[in-house]
């Protein structure tokens, strides 16, 4: 199974993503330059972290118009798994593939830390094998990771079980002290209504090896592989019907 890791000018976690994906059995990652126009050869798409286009104007605002994004958007609508970490999450929001936006951290500080996140749904294409309530230790490194949505969209996100990860303390409690950036309701990662596009501020790519203090990030990549091989993405629309 081949994953595409999109390289924008200014991406800086592309190598982390490729290395962590290549470290897993049955998975292979390849770089795809943002000027490319097709992703037909790939089973899944990863938008890595970094500072695409220098974060000029807003994070992800210019990257969303890169030529490759047309393919990312059409493949996402066709049901392909798309993962956006950190800057990748910001690009997915700017592109309209995920609701909400990521704004300046409430503290005004760049946070670089290991955080605990709690899995909020029983089964998602990206957290397969991590039951609801499971804790994942993942690093964060961002200045603009405060997730914001309007109250109505927030209600929808919760009702449709689109919140996949929340920042939690080590006991798994959702408390403000565990929130590194002021995100609304401690939201760390969300998926789209169909469930095949997932964005999160933490870096699974920087936590896919026990030598890096945590290998929890590998669970997300492995889950994507399981989802694809089991052909489970096709059932995503049914999931929407159930909760609607």
């Amino acid at each position: 199974m081949k994953f595409a890791v999109i390289r924008f000018p200014g991406s800086n976690c592309d190598q982390d993503c490729v290395a962590s994906i290549n470290g897993l059995d049955g998975l292979r990652a390849e770089y795809v330059w943002h000027k490319e126009t097709s992703l037909d050869d790939f089973g899944a798409i990863v938008l890595p972290g970094g500072f695409a286009y220098g974060d000029y104007l807003r994070c992800g605002a210019i990257a969303r118009f890169s030529p490759i994004m047309k393919a990312v958007i059409s493949d996402a609508h066709a049901g392909k798994l798309v993962l956006g970490t950190c800057n990748g999450f910001q690009i997915l929001c700017e592109a309209g593939l995920l609701p909400g936006a990521l704004v300046r951290n409430r503290s005004l500080r760049f946070v670089c830390d290991m955080v605990t996140t709690r899995v909020e749904v029983d089964d998602s294409p990206f957290t397969h094998g991590c039951p609801k309530g499971a804790l994942l230790r993942l690093p964060v490194a961002h200045g603009e990771g405060c997730f914001y949505v309007d109250p109505e969209t927030l209600r929808e996100l919760n009702a449709n079980q689109q919140v996949i990860l929340r920042y939690a303390d080590r006991q798994g409690r959702i408390v403000s002290g565990a929130n590194p950036n002021g995100s609304i309701e401690n939201i760390a990662g969300i998926c789209n209504r169909e469930g095949n596009v997932f964005g999160l501020m933490p870096h699974p790519d920087r936590a896919s090896d026990a030598r890096l203090d945590s290998a929890d990030g590998a669970k997300i990549f492995r889950s994507m592989l399981q989802t694809i091989t089991a052909g489970r993405t096709a059932t995503a629309p049914e999931r929407v019907k159930q909760v609607a």
Binding site: G100, A101, S107
Partner: protein, 117 residues
């Protein structure tokens, strides 16, 4: 044609930068300051003024220059090239370094006693 675009965070979106500046202004002797919101201001120079230019500009304001999820924008057209510039900030003379108070055009009132709780 020249256009100015002002992008501001929506009222519901927290603006920690604005809050930090508000606090600084209050510390610098303006306790009257209630709130500060920080946005972006863009000056755009455009060739010609075709009929649909403005609607295309609005389109890009929504798509690129602002994010409608968190921001509102205002588009101002400024036609004619010889628009008089009217700076709204009086620059202090350069003889000595301007204090923060001068830049803000306020006189700083330092408390006589420095005792604090």
């Amino acid at each position: 044609m020249k256009a100015r675009v002002i992008v501001m965070p929506k009222a519901a979106v927290l603006d920690p930068q604005g809050n930090a500046v508000r606090d600084a202004m209050q510390h610098l002797g303006m306790p009257e300051v209630r709130s500060v919101r920080i946005g972006k201001y863009m000056e755009i120079d455009i060739e010609g003024q075709n009929g649909d230019l403005e609607s295309r500009l609005h389109h890009l304001c929504r798509d690129l220059l602002s994010n409608p999820v968190i921001e509102d924008y205002e588009l101002q057209k400024a036609e004619g090239r010889n628009q008089k510039k009217t700076p709204n900030v009086e620059r202090p003379t350069r003889r000595r370094k301007a204090s923060a108070g001068q830049a803000l055009n306020v006189r700083l009132q330092r408390p006589k006693t420095t005792k604090r709780k």
